[in-house]
Symmetry: C2
Subunit: 421 residues, 2 copies
């Protein structure tokens, strides 16, 4: 038996983070890459747009021809034709001339701005009779001056060729997928999604589709842990139930290590099952136990180990503890493995006022389940009471409040940060 290493949550997190080796990357189409993390910087191969483009319906002009124009003293311009959408134009705008253009149209040569149709006396109703190739020249009044660049997007103004569009470590959002499509990038290099084996153990545990005999209970943790893995962007693999037996667990863990980046042995909270899990983990070739117990509540009996580039956790059997341990250590590990650079503000939390006193043991970090209630006085957080063996307390709760080590409790009315599920 190895030395019993109880750590603080910060010590274990720091150690895990310092040991992390990024997963391999893989090529993905841009659409399925939504939510994935970029493994390289992405530079644009092209200018976007690659032509000067109108962003208003109106008239392409030389801006200087409109200088000083106003409703009382309009500028008069001759419309020499119209730009067709999606086509290049051979028209050139000379002094005193304008070319009719729609949003998205390509600016003719010499034009450097667009006058909005609203700032002319041109009637949109006429737009159906095209002024293009018209025998009679149309003269328009421009009632508002434009500056060069007004109402157009210049070549490369959105994205310049070779410009870094997205950075390594960035998690792809819908607008990023749109921008990639816009510059013609259809595949990106993203980190592989971590695979997480979940091995439920315990002589008293049965699969949920079976009917418990007296003394048996259905597996909860494989299901809540698999959901947490999916939510974090990992791929959960639920293994078969293993009785509290060293050989059977050892075989299952060896199998899991072949295919998975992370193995969660979902205990068994009793000392006996924890001992079996610890023995099996310690016996893995090259295994180094990082923590055997962490000073948190709930979640204290967690075991954390690394064996080469694989991570193994002995998860507490208690459903609430298992979820807290996941949120604190496994979730972060999965994010680090897949290269995510997550800013602090992107962690889902809200501020609320505690609606009652809550006492804590100063010797450990406490995670209090709370329910949120909207009141006239603002958002209130109400502790969900009940033993941490009860999954229903997590079902009733909206999030958790952390009480740090050294703090003996929180007072009613105190503002707290609630980390949302």
């Amino acid at each position: 038996m190895q030395f019993f290493k109880v750590k603080t949550s910060e010590e274990l997190r720091d150690e895990l983070q310092s040991l992390v080796k990024l997963l391999d990357s893989e090529i993905s189409g841009i659409e399925p890459a939504l939510g994935r993390v970029l493994a390289t910087d992405v530079h644009s191969p092209v200018d976007l747009p690659d032509f000067n483009r109108s962003i208003m319906d109106g008239f392409a002009v030389r801006a200087r021809d409109t200088f000083g124009a106003s409703a009382s003293s309009p500028a008069y311009l001759k419309v020499i034709g119209e730009v067709l959408m999606g086509e290049t134009t051979t028209l050139k705008v000379s002094t005193g001339e304008a070319v009719k253009i729609a949003t998205g149209g390509m600016l003719p040569a010499n034009a450097d701005a667009v006058v909005m149709v609203e700032d002319t006396d041109y009637e949109m109703a006429e737009s159906k009779s095209s002024p293009s190739n018209s025998q009679d020249d149309i003269l328009i009044e421009v009632t508002k001056a434009v500056a060069p660049g007004d109402n157009i997007v210049r070549i490369g103004e959105d994205v310049r060729q070779s410009q870094k569009l997205l950075s390594k470590g960035h998690q792809l959002r819908p607008q990023d997928i749109g921008a990639l499509a816009g510059v013609g990038i259809l595949e990106v290099e993203v980190y592989r999604q971590p695979t997480v084996a979940i091995i439920p153990t315990g002589d008293e545990i049965i699969p949920p589709n079976e009917t418990p005999k007296p003394g048996q209970i259905r597996d909860i943790n494989s299901y809540s842990l698999a959901g947490l893995v999916r939510q974090t962007g990992g791929i959960p693999i639920r293994f078969s139930l293993i009785p509290d037996n060293h050989t059977a667990l050892q075989e299952s863990v060896r199998e899991a290590l072949k295919t998975s980046d992370v193995v969660l042995i979902s205990g068994g909270s009793s000392v006996g099952t924890r001992d079996v899990a610890l023995d099996v983990i310690a016996g893995i070739d090259g295994a180094q136990i990082l923590a055997h117990g962490v000073s948190i509540r709930p979640g204290k009996p967690v075991i954390a180990a690394i064996a080469r580039d694989k991570y193994i956790f002995g998860m507490p059997g208690n459903p609430v503890s298992a979820m807290v341990v996941f949120e604190l250590f496994v979730k972060s590990l999965l994010q680090w493995l897949s290269g995510l650079q997550q800013p602090n503000w992107d962690i889902k939390s809200v501020k609320a006022k505690l609606n009652t006193n809550f006492s804590s043991d100063a010797g450990r970090e406490d995670y209090v389940r709370v329910r949120l209630i909207e009141t006239a006085d603002g958002l209130m957080a109400e502790p969900v009471l009940g033993k941490s063996a009860l999954i229903s307390t997590m079902v009733k709760a909206d999030g958790t409040v952390k009480i740090p080590i050294g703090v003996e409790g929180l007072e009613a009315g105190e503002e707290v940060t609630v980390f949302l599920f």
Copy 2:
């Protein structure tokens, strides 16, 4: 041409919400139901647990036998056997007796509490030589009193039979899936995921895998909108590009209405393409135009319509406007259609201080893209400048700040709510 109905965003949201008819429900396995919305309340068919269960390693006792026990005046109990995990026990605890039990074990008859092994003089090292059926009775010292119910979970204490476990309208989280597994529910009735057809239009638009000729530009919006639909829990269906042609668009929309709950015609920001979209939408059998223009910036040229139970949007062609319109109207609609009861605090936002003055037009609701910066003074929001035709401004931004109608601007240092992407 119908009457031009410019609405406020609130008017359009209220109208959409009042018209919503919930989608059908369907049966789903509990694991794929993660993130889906329940279409019925869920009651537990069983008590969880269905036996009194120890949640500590120790000794099952009659609590009254320990009353007054302390380190200086321990209670002495005779250990008459051990509970095996996952099995029923025939043992009965009489006055002065105790039964060894592990976490998860079934309490013997007459026991109403568990004394933790730490509160006895029993050495866990002995745990390998079972006291069960031992010829020599083991006597333990109990150094701490327990009350009835201590360190056990009683029948139904987690979930009581027939109790409402989860409510209609609730979005399933990992702990909910775990609790369902725990009570043996393997399938749930959830609302169908809304299907959303996305029809890109515009003579100048080409698919991203093609190389633009002069005057052409790659499709951005189908990709960012599809990503937004997926993030909202809908199923996006990207349709082929349609030129600005009434017949072609009409055919495509008719096809889309057959298979989809919501149709997004991704314009074309020019009046010409908007006119085609409006004509096609107005021509749909039973169509009622809800808005033609909304007083927001960006996003003003949106068209919203309902035709029987289907919703059709003419989305602005501008990439930023299209995303703002999605976030404001389409996202909420998809959530309403799929029955989600989302509390206000669950909308992802953070507070930050604006780092510069920002002026707005009081006549409309303004959505300012901002980048978040962590500073010694706390989180700062910096407006991302640039025309709203530029997708790169959305790539650089972390969220948006709303400036309501009637407000002429925000001042540097002012606290704002940033809605995160």
